[in-house]
């Protein structure tokens, strides 16, 4: 029982912290700046607890306590670590962001914490209703965060689009759950797994239909082709720290449950490999093509997020369901999260009041006036493009190696081609920063938080690249 408690501790800390933050904010007892610090503390504490649990012991299904609805494995532990890290750095850079963009409220930090709570639960879910509830906890918090700046028209547009399409997807998920329950009289993953193992996936029509809808909901959340179209508008409309949080933590959480669900049985995964194969190719190249046409950095990053989803789908195709560790997926997620969060942290203090600097052209000559920020952004971009010795390179390396080991040579080659094409828009920003004269001084009245966050993440880009994993 003690052991169970340790495993659940991060979720408890984050959940309790979110409620606490919300209450304090409701009674006006907390200044905005202290709210961010409290939020960082919550995430830091939960991260430490999660790290302890990751070091502590073997996987434990919560049989007694939660009737098998939750399950903790090494995979979910590390996914939780990534999510908590993302939350920490988002809270950190938000503080600087709200120095210039004065629409921040104390509830903002509470919502971030709530979203992280939902994500943590989502990674651990071992049952469809739990997954649905945690998915909705996460999504609802994120909807509010996207539309947090109520005076901004693009924000309203973004939240409307996201909410409509998200509701659409939530419907899919619920319908899939209903179908599976109808077929199997249970929503537990274990039951699904044993049903697939005994009868075969394709011989249970309710299961085929149910899994179909559920996987579509996941594909929508990670913005895979052809469910990617919302991403660009939504990322563009939301404020920078929120975009960073969505792009990283949300993707990590959804990929965790996606992988957990898909790896229930080799039969289930095997039936989906062909579709995921095409979806990942279309996602990579579609994302690349969208990114090339963009003039705004946020939109470009949104589109590049689609491309990274494509890589993660390759990893998903390549992992073997028999002995699933998910190390490649997690490594790629960690590498991607660090670089993406880094860029958004840098943007959150560089883009100025009201995010006036949003286009590629606005960052001309950044290297002349703010060489360190420009260098950090360059590191993040190179990591996203997959240039050694960054974490992004190692992530792509592992993904492509695992694809080759799984016999998916076509995917590996297309992955490399796509990574070459992605240089187009990553280098475009570097060129703008380094090979033009500065027209302005890029001064901002920011606190030390976001720059410190950028520095830590820039170091992390190299640190993660040194961390070895086994495929």
């Amino acid at each position: 029982m003690n052991h169970d408690f340790l495993l659940l501790l991060p979720v408890i800390i984050v959940g309790a912290g979110a409620v606490l933050l919300m209450l304090r904010a409701a009674f006006g007892k907390l200044a905005l700046d202290s709210a961010s610090v409290v939020c960082m503390c919550i995430f830091g504490l939960a991260f430490a607890a999660q790290a302890c649990s990751a070091l502590a012991g073997p996987e434990v299904p919560f049989k007694a306590a939660f009737n098998g609805m939750l399950m903790v494995t090494d995979f979910t532990r590390v996914a939780g670590l990534i999510i908590l890290g993302c939350g920490f750095f988002t809270a950190m850079s938000s503080r600087s962001y709200f120095k210039e963009n004065r629409f921040g409220l104390e509830e903002y930090y509470s919502l971030i914490t709530f979203a992280a709570f939902g994500m943590l639960l989502l990674t651990m879910s071992h049952e469809l209703m739990t997954a649905f509830i945690s998915l909705e906890i996460m999504s609802l918090s994120i909807y509010i965060l996207v539309g947090f700046n109520r005076r901004c028209v693009t924000c309203a547009e973004a939240v409307l689009k996201y909410l409509m399409l998200g509701a659409f997807t939530g419907g899919f998920f619920a319908m899939g759950t209903a179908l599976i329950y109808g077929g199997l009289k249970s929503t537990k993953f274990e039951v699904i797994a044993s049903a697939v193992a005994t009868h075969g996936f394709l011989h249970t029509p309710a299961l085929v239909g149910g899994a179909f809808f559920i996987i579509f909901a996941f594909l929508f959340k990670v913005a895979a082709f052809p469910f990617h179209a919302w991403v660009v508008d939504v990322y563009d409309g939301s404020s920078i720290p929120v975009t960073g949080f969505m792009a990283t933590a949300l993707k990590t959480a959804v990929f965790a449950i996606f992988a957990n669900f898909l790896m229930l049985d080799p039969g289930l995964k095997g039936a989906w490999v062909t579709y995921l194969f095409y979806i990942s190719i279309l996602t990579m190249f579609g994302g690349n093509l969208i990114a090339i046409g963009q003039g705004s950095i946020k939109r470009m990053l949104a589109a590049s997020g689609i491309v990274h989803t494509g890589y993660l789908l390759i990893a998903l195709v390549a992992v073997s369901a028999d002995r699933f560790t998910g190390s490649v997926i997690l490594y790629y997620l960690a590498a991607y999260s660090v670089s993406t969060l880094g860029i958004f942290a840098a943007l959150s203090y560089l883009s100025g009041a009201g995010e006036v600097r949003s286009q590629f052209e606005d960052f001309k000559g950044l290297a002349r006036t703010r060489p360190y920020s420009a260098a950090a952004i360059t590191i993040f971009l190179l990591s996203m493009a997959g240039i050694p010795p960054t974490a992004g390179f190692m992530g792509k390396f592992y993904v492509i190696t695992s694809a080759i080991q799984a016999g998916q040579v076509t995917l590996a080659v297309l992955g490399i081609v796509s990574s070459i094409l992605s240089m187009w828009y990553y280098l475009r920003l570097i060129i703008n920063m380094y090979f033009h004269d500065a027209h302005e001084s890029f001064e901002s009245e920011c606190t030390v938080f976001a720059p410190a966050c950028t520095l830590i993440l820039a170091v992390a880009v190299f640190a993660i690249s040194l961390y070895p994993i086994t495929l």
Binding site: F168, F227, A229, D233, N288
Partner: protein
Amino acid sequence: MEQTAHFYLGLIPLMPLIGAVLIGLMHVTTCRGHRFPDKLYAVLACIGPVLACIMAFQVFTILKTLPVEHRILVHKVFTWFSVGELNISMGFMADPLSSLMILFVTFIGSLIHIYSIGYMADDKTYAKFFGYMNLFLGSMLILVLGDGPVVMFVGWEGVGLCSYLLISYYNEDSSNVLAGNKAFIVNRIGDLGFVLGMAFLFWAIGAQGFDYISLKANAHLLPQATAMLVCLLLFVGATGKSAQIPLYVWLPDAMAGPTPVSALIHAATMVTAGVYMVARFSFLYVTVPDAGEIVAWIGILTALVSAIYGMFQDDIKKVLAYSTVSQLGYMFAGVGVAAYSAGIFHVFTHAFFKALLFLGAGSVIYAMHHEQNIWKMGGLKKKLPVTYLTMLVGALALSGCPPFSGFFSKDEILFSAFASGHKAIWAIGVLVAGMTAYYTFRMIFVVFHGEPHSKSSYDHAHEPPPVMTVPLVLLAIGALLAGFFNLPELFGGHQMVSSWLEPSVLDHHAHAEASTEWMVMGSSVLAFVIGFSIAYVKFAKGAQLPVFTGFAKFAYNKFYIDELYDMLFVQPYKSIGAIIWKDFDPNVTDGPRKAISWLYGAIGDAFRLVQTGYVRVYAIYMVIGLSLISLLISQTLN
């Protein structure tokens, strides 16, 4: 005892390298703001070389206590890399040859470091200079101590780099930078030969181990043709580093660097690396006498050609530079006729007297406020007595006057050539000896005797500080006495150096009658006397700037070799580069690339239109995707 020697072996190259890193870091961190005092750098820079010198002595004495056949110590520090059959460790080896080399390299290196404290005073980037110098010394010691060709190559490239950095040291003047570039590029050509030679050697017999000991043991397995090829390719490397025909052109230009650099790198140590390498690979060269023949001929012809150039130079450092090339030619003639110990002995004595001459020239230049033209000097004997006397010793040693050191070493080479039947090489050698005496004393007389040519700079001239003159005196003692280390049996000596080197190099001992030996020696002395007399008659009483005509003009312009190389190699190369750059690259290779990038941009722009911004359209995409895949799934179900 041997343990101590092992310990020292690893430390010897490390000492100057640590100094280089330390000085470099200190310089880099402080070059913008407050600088450390120059004295601190001076002390730091000298510690490494001096410690290395003391350890080199230790190693030498330890080696001396061992029985002759066991005089070899190998210290493998770590495995550097291991690929297939190629196992390379970072190992250092002390045997008689390398211990002799490190002895005088560290000794002269230390003296020149001390001298530089005075010479480089008031330099703006004092620390940078000493950083480079320490780096050079460390690389040179790696070169000499390396236990195999690969480790030697590390040092070989290291000294090349430092040479480049120090030639271009005064980089405000673009001609100095060009001189550095020239040295580097010409050396690269040589390096290619070295690398190819190494590759062939590894391909043939490297599988059983690629250090000198294994190579020596397996040398007999090498087919004759391969051995010939390897020897010649290695020699190409040597012609680059040691400035022999056809790659000698960089050394005179290298005098653009500060004078201590010319003394240390371009006279005493680095340029002799080629000779050392040939001696090191003597086990290969003895198997193919033809290769040795080529080495000897290239050497003696280089000696002749550069002695001719030397007779017509008017820059004091250029005179010395050509004399260096010429003396290097002698050394190659020596190792070419399989008299390896004679060649190395000349490296040894030459290091003393040429370093001495360069440092002397440095103090003349220092006194004359960076004037290098000998025709603007004159009469400096009274103003610079110490410099004059020490340089006189150096000049006598260089021109081979008995009993100065140069006489013994040069004579040994000439005797070996004669005794081994290379009479033509011997004859040219004697001729060059006469020319050497002529141009050396031409320089001495014009600079120190006669009337001052430039009154104002003469009046301001003064003897440099003791930190510069003391090394001069020490080197003069060395130049005077170094020859006695290898006193031939004719004079009752025991040829200490030759017998010391015996285990390392496979000497071919030529035997001849004592009368022949007397004759050879006599002709050398005669050549010296003739050369000296001509110089005395022409220049001792003062001479004016000569006007060169005919052959003299041709020689003054160095036979227009630089221009010829420029026309034959540099210009065609440049024009090919220009064609590729201006025509081929933009039109041919860039064409497809531009087309692809345009195409992709166009597709990207088209795709952007799909992002309409209408949420209903996005929902339609989802529905279409959903329908397509459900269709596919229903296909599979059937």
